[in-house]
Amino acid sequence: MSQTIQIERDDNTLEHEAWNIQLIRLNQGETASKGAATYSPIPNYKPQDAATTSTNNILPFSENNVTITPFATVVPQLGDFSNVPCGSTSSWFLFNNFESPPLTEEELSDIYRSLEEIKMGKTKKFNNVRDAIEWLHSNRSK
């Protein structure tokens, strides 16, 4: 005698999965497909816009033969970001009109200290970025 158990999956879980898949795809350097404008990644994401349906929320399996029916793969629809370089983690702010906060007292203090260091010649110069980054990493490990 077989018994079927149905587990309802939480809507939020699926939406988060869709969201993660989308972020992974973007981080892998994929450019978005053109013309499919449903919801945009960071930061205007609206959970209600996620392409999930009620059929995705049920995960049926049989108790006897323990075969699990895979639920429908959620393929998120991407907005039109075909011109945006998605591979760069530092390009996140291109998705919105992020206004950097004003300089704080601590920042100003550090900047002043840095300017003094520059005047005193206490700086390190590099002619190319590769050497600079390598030095920063080696300097940290010391």
Partner: protein, 105 residues
């Protein structure tokens, strides 16, 4: 709207990077993930023809004089730098985390 990296790197020249001790200390205090972000930001800036256009300009108080550019690495971190076209130098002044940017604990 800030210019994107590939826009500014249309015809890039080589820049000299100059690190202050404050910047180096800030960098060393970051975890590896944020260090990677800083590395990437440095690459973008150094590969740009107009690195000053990649950041937002912040005016410094009269006592300091001048201004500084800030490049937002993430919501929680940003890099302060100066650009000198005469010497083709990018002075990396400071890189700080979220708490410092927001000015609260």
């Amino acid at each position: 709207m800030l210019l994107s990296g590939f826009t500014a790197t249309a015809a890039s020249d080589q820049w000299t990077l100059e690190f202050t001790q404050t910047f180096i200390d800030n960098y060393n205090s970051k975890d590896s993930e944020n260090q990677h972000r800083v590395d990437e930001a440095l690459s973008v800036l150094a590969g740009s023809k107009w690195p000053n256009k990649l950041g937002q300009i912040k005016e410094l108080p009269a006592a300091f004089g001048g201004r500084v550019c800030v490049y937002d690495i993430s919501r929680s971190s940003r890099l302060s730098y100066n650009v000198f076209f005469e010497t083709k130098t990018i002075q990396c002044v400071r890189v700080c985390d979220h708490k410092t940017v927001q000015g609260k604990d």
